[in-house]
């Protein structure tokens, strides 16, 4: 692996909080017509998300489709303007900055998208795709662009000679590497990876995962890793936040979330994930099967949003919304939003 890409300026030493997200909300207005009457409603895609991201850390956002994990990622990179809340990046609230003031922050917060087919312009060469951010941010002198592009291509494991090719000449995994090179071009401190491997075949998935891990280790980049695959998140993230219907229902260190999950939804998710372990003699885990589907975020249930599918739900769940907080028995940094949170340890058997 070459070291031609400079590690980011580590003014923020590992451990310092880079990103402070407070009560972030995204409500999309929709119009519905019932007969002749028009009503205005909102989709509460994200409704009060709070977390911190430290330098060099990787935080996993997991949840099912529609839980708001991608929307959260897009708000942090300001591809969407939040309805309310605070995104504090190194002391500046970027949630409401104007586009011009936002520019320098765009450089430091980059995103890698899920679909490597639709996120690269098919009519631009790879060199053009990767050098655009360099030009926009005036990072390289004119004439030196190609050299930098080739450095980046080499860093992500592509042949630097291929800079003149078009995206259609590459496979899915290679395209994802191009997307990663584009994000790296501006030497970001935080990369939001929105399902970066879910469109790839298993053997290719591992290649890209290893690349991301190398980047994280060598360049000290902090990651917000959005995924629905619990195995991938367990592999990559130190800290995991589980989302359900626009809210974080449980958050904590990886070992806690996978080893002793407290929220019923986290327990159900882990129990539902099909696992290879069973066939190699690991005792089968307890099966929790949720019934029904996720309710609509237009009209979410009162109180706890998970109560409609929860086997522990009681009257209090409908009236009082549980706070995301540490329970007396919790490990430090582990919090769950449930009135009846209790750890369940036998869900995922430890092999290692």
């Amino acid at each position: 692996m070459s070291d031609t890409v400079r590690p980011i300026d580590q003014s923020a030493a590992r451990g310092e909080t880079l990103l402070r997200v407070r009560d972030l909300k995204m409500h999309f207005p929709i119009k519905e017509s019932v007969g002749l009457r028009r009503t205005k409603k909102v989709v509460q895609a994200v409704d009060g998300v709070t977390f911190d991201l430290k330098a060099g850390q990787s935080l996993g956002l997991v949840g099912e489709s529609g839980c708001g994990k991608s929307t959260t990622g897009r708000m942090i990179t300001r591809l969407l303007t939040p309805t309310s809340g605070e995104i504090n990046f190194k002391g500046t609230d970027i949630a409401r900055l104007k586009e011009r003031d936002l520019r320098p922050f765009r450089r430091q917060l980059q995103i890698v998208f899920q679909d490597p087919y639709s996120s690269l312009n098919p009519r631009q060469t790879v060199s053009n795709i990767i050098s655009t951010p360099l030009r926009v941010h005036n990072l390289v002198k004119k004439g030196n662009e190609l050299g930098r592009v080739q450095e980046l291509l080499e860093r992500v494991g592509l042949n630097p000679e291929h800079h003149n090719r078009y995206p259609n000449e590459f496979s899915g995994g290679q395209r994802q590497r191009i997307g990663i090179a584009r994000a790296l071009a501006v030497e970001p401190e935080v990369i939001i990876a929105d399902e970066p491997v879910s469109a790839l075949d298993v053997s290719i998935q591992a290649q890209v995962m290893n690349l991301l891990e190398d980047l994280r280790r060598d360049l000290g980049i902090a990651f917000v890793f959005i995924a629905h695959d619990l195995g991938v998140v367990r592999h990559f993230c130190d800290e995991v936040a589980v989302m359900y219907l626009g809210k974080i229902v449980e958050q904590g260190p990886r070992e806690q979330i996978y080893g002793a999950p407290q929220h019923p939804y986290t327990q159900a998710l882990l129990s539902a994930a099909p696992d290879l372990g069973t066939i190699r003699g690991v005792p089968p885990k307890e099966r929790i099967r949720l019934v029904g589907d996720v309710p609509s975020p237009i009209d979410p249930p009162s109180g706890c949003r998970f109560r409609t599918r929860c086997w522990k739900a009681e009257d209090i769940c409908a009236t009082l919304e549980p706070k995301l907080e540490g329970k007396p028995q919790s490990a430090p940094g582990h919090a769950a939003a449930c009135h009846f949170a209790e750890p369940k340890v036998d869900l995922v058997a430890e092999i290692a």
């Binding site: 995994g173 298993v202 591992a206 629905h228 994930a273």
Partner: protein
């Protein structure tokens, strides 16, 4: 069984079809299966009499760049009540082979050779009119994407009833009653209201249930499920897999489950067939293939997935890319990516295509690899890395 050339295939098949008139749908398990089985010597890993037998299946598509052999000499069999999982990456031929079983390929653009026998009836070369009677009745398919496989302009109930009325001469009311039964069976609440709704009014999981209801409306003995849960969330995926399992217990159907998710395979499959570049590279019971694999590609797959239960240190991906089907490497198709090929004496891996042979000299667990000491390599090197 000898495979006739594509040109004269039609005639031969027409003759054999004449010899064996199509049996009625409910009496498809004739004695002919057992006879044929003994003759072909093709046994299922379970040793039971198979319902679906695929033998030496080859599917070729002529394209502008040359002839693509999407499936090459594939053989497997599935008895009633058992689930076979076909695993492989995109382009390995797993979907193409099952589309061939269903007879869904364009006949003008596809060359299919080999034999596909469903309860004794030869499907390769069967006239389209006869095939239409079998398809949807004795065998049914559940597709990956329920959004695009349901017709958006017809109600869900209408589509399920239609599937029933194509194969049964019944009135609309009887078909509706049957459809409501099916919706209820697959766990869709309030079937009477749901019957009148359009696909867009269903959620992803409910749509997949409706697809399964449509597939099962004629009590098929063979269900081919092509990535049935890939488009679904993990909690909904668990519901659908449970549903398929329960339906199989109740009706004893044979299931062919196509997937790339080894976790799903571990929970669902009785038998597993691993495909690579159009060929079967390993075949056996689920325990054989997943707990005692004997082929470097299967090892690579197992080593490259991060599991929920093991906090692996570093993933070990299979290096390189799957080969182009237009230009397969000589010898073993996996050899350019295989980390063990140096251990085979001479250049056998690059010159000679390994045959699909029993891993322990006899028995039903087969793999396609020249390596001699596969068992000891797996025990000593691969297993410790799996944790």
């Amino acid at each position: 069984m000898t495979t006739p050339a594509p040109e004269d295939r039609k005639d031969t098949m027409a003759e054999s079809a004449a010899e064996q008139p199509a049996a009625p749908a409910d009496a498809k398990r004739g004695p002919s299966v057992a006879t044929r089985e003994r003759r072909s010597g093709l046994m299922n890993p379970s040793g039971e009499t198979p319902y679906l037998v695929v033998e030496d299946l080859t599917v070729k598509f002529p394209t502008a760049d040359g002839v693509v052999s999407a499936v090459n000499g594939l053989s497997y069999s599935v008895p009633l009540g058992r689930t076979l999982s076909i695993v492989g990456e995109s382009g390995s031929g797993k979907s193409v082979s099952s589309m061939a079983v269903m007879g869904l390929h364009d006949r003008k653009r596809t060359q299919i050779t080999g034999s596909i026998r469903l309860g004794g009836d030869e499907l390769v070369g069967m006239p389209e009119s006869d095939l239409m009677k079998v398809r949807g009745d004795a065998m049914a398919m559940v597709f990956q994407d329920p959004q695009s496989s349901l017709h958006p302009l017809y109600t869900v109930g209408n589509q399920i009833s239609e599937a029933y009325r194509v194969h049964h001469k019944v009135s609309k009311d009887v078909a509706k009653k049957r459809s409501l039964e099916m919706l209820d069976l697959v766990g869709i609440p309030n079937p009477i209201r749901r019957f009148k709704q359009y696909p867009h009014e269903f959620s992803g999981g409910m749509r997949q249930r409706a697809m399964i209801a449509m597939g099962l409306v004629n009590d098929p003995k063979l269900i081919i499920a092509d990535e049935p849960t890939t488009a679904l969330d993990v909690t909904v995926q668990a519901q659908i897999l449970d549903l398929l399992n329960n339906l199989q217990k109740e009706f004893g159907s044979a299931i062919v489950l196509i997937t790339h998710d080894l976790g799903v395979v571990a929970e669902m499959a009785d038998d597993v067939l691993v495909m690579y570049a159009g060929r079967c590279v390993e075949y056996g019971t689920a325990t054989d293939v997943l707990a005692n694999p004997r082929m470097p590609y299967t090892w690579g797959l197992l080593e490259s997935i991060p599991t929920v239960s093991a906090a692996s240190e570093k993933l070990r991906p299979i290096k390189g890319l799957p080969p182009s089907l237009l230009n397969l490497p000589s010898g073993c198709s996996f050899n350019p990516r295989c980390p063990y090929k140096d251990r085979v004496k001479g250049e056998r891996c690059t010159t000679e295509l390994p045959e699909l042979l029993p891993v322990d000299g006899a028995g039903a667990h087969t793999s396609r690899c020249h390596l001699h000491d596969k068992a000891s390599i797996y025990e000593a090197e691969v297993l410790p890395r799996l944790g």
